[in-house]
């Protein structure tokens, strides 16, 4: 291995003489370095998040006032589904994969992922899939929402090519994420550095492991459902799985779909939990409270996540006994989630807190995710769900979980690891402004939706009763500001990339895991020598001094 430049993995791999811009681009596009692939995943996810955001702004523009305003109903019908698909399949899930790609090998002390080439293939499946999904806008986009329920999505009711493109795109994304999951599991199981046992692994790595198991067990089921749907669309009359007139069962699709898509909400939040598990101890200057319980509760959430899918189907006429069973199991998930919330609070308790931007995002997440969790318990109740099903209450719930949950943790993680990824510090002032605008306007946008839902405003509708106009205006204005506020963050990161203060190995001073023991940014292959982990004794005194932190001992 060569000498290390201060630009780490960002520096060109070849000598300066043969370096051209095109060559440098190729070095990135063909790279097998997990950190570079992680950065590509992250940038791709953010771009898709931006597109998904634009679609949501179109939705909110249309809903500013009752009646048709800017678009026709057919076009509007494509928006919620495509917004959700982009945000879920192309933004949140790839973004967590990206951060995982960057951080997990470093945290376990491995030089790279177990299958670097598979890693690259997994990433490069995403852009074509995204193109397929987006290009359906030029070929009449599907208007059946992100769930693609048949018979609405079969060839009779959605004959357009856009629907086929959407289905294939989702299958490809699923393939990509299973590739990443296989890679993460092999990396974490088999490439941990010396002395690092499973229960010495950082909790972010734990969360990626649990998420990978979720992906492995659930994504293929969605693939099988979508393959069946696609067969039924392509060969109508020959294949009959879901069409009721052919003896098929549309509810079967819902079972298969939610067998993936319910665990998918944990795929979208567990890595976020993992990030919070890293950030809160660092900025409380205390070890995490209940490390083992934190790990086991993630596993419990994952297991329970598989047995609750039918709570999305309470109104489909499945037997009451079945519904009650699923209601009970769904409510049970609040137990391990509650354990996590209280463990975070216990970690904060008595710590010497620092309120840097990642910490602010973590605290904002704690407060607002709890709201999302509580409205989830409300929806878990069968009679209440029958009342609230497909209303804006569900929209409020999902956005409190995914925006105030996943997206806040993504920001927390990106701020937290920004100095590690780039070697420079972001602007703290702008970060705080970004946090406060985001936190406030998430609530302005989504809180009123609870009320709209309880009053009976249905979701995915193009028009609404004028009584909801005031709340919709508030929500729309909130969403515009929320969207605009993100440009502060874009500016901050771009500006800091060039002008930010250069940082050392451990800019937060209190980071304990292996990523804080290598250079910022890390070199190719992460460590100059294979690290040896010194097990942490997790005691819960008032706080730990920076100089008490454990350090990996270089191998002899």
């Amino acid at each position: 291995m060569g000498t290390h430049s201060k630009y780490g993995y960002l520096s060109p791999l070849t000598d300066k003489a043969s370096k051209s811009a095109l060559h440098y681009v190729k070095e990135w596009f063909y790279t097998t370095d997990a950190k570079r692939i992680g950065v590509m995943y992250t940038l791709f996810g953010l771009m898709m998040g931006f597109l998904g955001g634009v679609l949501s702004i179109l939705i909110r523009l249309e809903l500013v006032q009752a009646g048709p305003d800017f678009m026709n109903a057919e076009f509007y019908a494509t928006l919620p589904g495509m917004h959700a698909s982009l945000m879920i399949f192309f933004f949140i899930i790839p973004l967590f994969t990206g951060v995982g790609n960057f951080i997990v090998p470093v945290q376990v002390g491995a030089p790279d992922m177990a299958f670097p080439k598979l890693n690259l293939v997994g990433f490069w499946l995403l852009p074509p899939a995204a193109l397929m999904a987006i290009s359906s806008y030029f070929l009449t986009a599907p208007g059946f929402g992100w769930t693609g329920y048949p018979p609405l999505s079969n060839s009779i009711y959605s004959p357009q090519l856009g629907a086929d493109l959407w289905i294939m795109a989702v299958i490809i994304v699923g393939t990509s994420s299973t590739m990443a999951a296989v890679n993460f599991l092999a990396t974490v199981f088999n490439m941990r550095c010396k002395n690092m046992t499973f229960f010495q692994m950082p909790l972010f790595t734990w969360s990626v492991v649990v998420t990978s198991f979720l992906i492995l067990a659930s994504t293929p089921v969605l693939t099988s459902a979508l393959l069946m749907l696609q067969l039924e669309r392509t060969f109508p009359g020959a294949f009959q799985f879901f069409a009721p007139e052919g003896g098929g069962d549309p509810i079967l699709y819902q079972h298969l779909f939610w067998f993936y898509s319910h665990p998918a909400v944990y795929i979208m939040i567990l890595p976020g939990f993992g990030m919070i598990n890293e950030i809160i101890p660092t900025f409380s200057r205390k070890p995490i409270f209940g490390y083992a319980v934190m790990a086991w509760s993630m596993a419990a959430i994952a297991v329970l996540g598989f047995v609750v899918w039918a709570h999305h189907m309470f109104t489909t006429g499945i037997a009451l006994k079945v519904r009650v069973g699923f209601m009970f199991l769904t409510m049970l998930i609040a137990v391990p989630t509650g354990i996590k919330i209280f463990s975070w609070l216990a970690t904060l308790w008595g710590g010497s807190l620092k309120f840097d931007t990642p910490m602010l995002y973590s605290l904002g997440f704690l407060a607002m995710f709890t709201i999302g969790g509580l409205s989830g318990v409300v929806l878990a109740s069968v009679p209440v769900d029958i009342e609230l099903h497909d209303t804006y209450y569900v929209v409020a719930h999902i956005h409190y979980v995914l925006v105030a949950g996943s997206v806040m943790t993504i920001f927390a993680g990106l701020y937290y690891w920004f100095p590690k990824m780039t070697g420079r510090m972001y602007n703290e002032m702008l970060g705080k402004v970004h946090f406060w605008l985001t936190a406030i306007f998430i609530n302005v946008t989504f809180f009123g939706m609870h009320y709209m839902g309880v009053k009976g405003m249905p979701r995915r509708y193009f028009d609404y009763d004028p009584q909801f106009e005031m709340l919709n205006v508030v929500s729309s204005v909130g969403s515009f500001v929320l969207f605009a506020a993100q440009f502060i963050w874009v500016f901050n990161f771009l500006w800091s990339l060039k002008y930010g203060k250069e940082v050392g190995k451990n800019p937060w001073k209190d980071g304990t895991h292996l990523e804080w023991h290598t250079t910022s940014p890390p070199q190719h292959h992460n460590f100059p020598e294979p690290p040896v982990w010194t097990p942490i004794v997790r005691h819960h005194g008032p706080h730990r001094e920076a100089d008490e932190l454990t350090e990996p001992v270089p191998a002899e």
């Binding site: 299973t178 067990a217 039924e232 079967l252 298969l256």
Partner: protein, 211 residues
């Protein structure tokens, strides 16, 4: 500065914490995933079949002139190819590469016979039994039966075909001396895939043909 070669040269120098190769863990996790894909198709089959109004035909009698015996023979061929795959690995570990290659050839031929018979069966079923699939005359037939049959056996047949190509690549590697005793884990991993495909076939055969 690190050279390009340094990045490309096997970066997996990390300790193998579990004492097995990464490839083996990768294949096992992949197989878990693949099993779940089949589980989705089987769940679809189960739901469509065991509903009160399904009117499922008796598969044992429905396969007509070729009968279920042909598929039973095919199952036997596939299981035999699993046995020969075991021999490939054991001969490789002993260092008898000549014999290992012959066993691998037998495995590949077994896979080809399986796919061939399945192709014959499909042709027969589609042309004689389900002509509406290819735009022929509509017949009064249980389309759910045809759908689940074709999707399950088709998806499995795809797996066997991939496996044959996979084994062929390994065979060529053995012939060129690139795969041998020193890296027998490559064969072990291919064997995992092949045995898995056979195992799934037992399930598919039981569900679709026998029950």
């Amino acid at each position: 500065m690190a050279t390009h070669q340094a990045t490309e040269a096997a970066p997996n120098t990390g300790a193998e914490s579990l004492g097995v190769t990464n490839g083996k863990i990768g294949m096992w996790t992949f197989l878990v995933m693949d099993a779940m894909t089949f589980a989705g198709f089987l769940a679809g089959y189960a739901r469509l079949r065991w509903s009160p109004e399904s009117g499922w035909p008796n598969p044992y009698t429905e396969f007509g002139v070729i009968g279920i015996q042909l598929t039973a023979f095919n199952t036997f061929v596939l299981i035999c190819s699993s046995v020969s795959m075991v021999h490939v690995l054991s001969e490789t570990i002993r260092g008898n590469m000549d014999r290992a290659r012959k066993w691998m050839l037998a495995t590949i031929i077994g896979g080809l016979i399986f796919v061939g018979i399945q192709g014959y069966e499909w042709t027969h079923l589609i042309l004689d039994k389900w002509p509406y699939l290819v735009g022929g005359e509509g017949v009064d037939y249980n389309t759910n039966f045809a759908s689940t049959f074709l999707s399950l056996t088709g998806f499995h047949g795809l797996h066997v075909s991939v496996g044959v190509i996979y084994n062929l690549i390994i065979y060529l590697g053995m012939k060129r001396g690139k795969i041998g005793k020193h890296n027998s884990s490559i064969i072990e991993i291919a064997g995992l895939y092949w045995h898995f495909v056979d195992l799934i076939w037992i399930l598919v055969f039981t569900f679709v043909y026998l029950i």
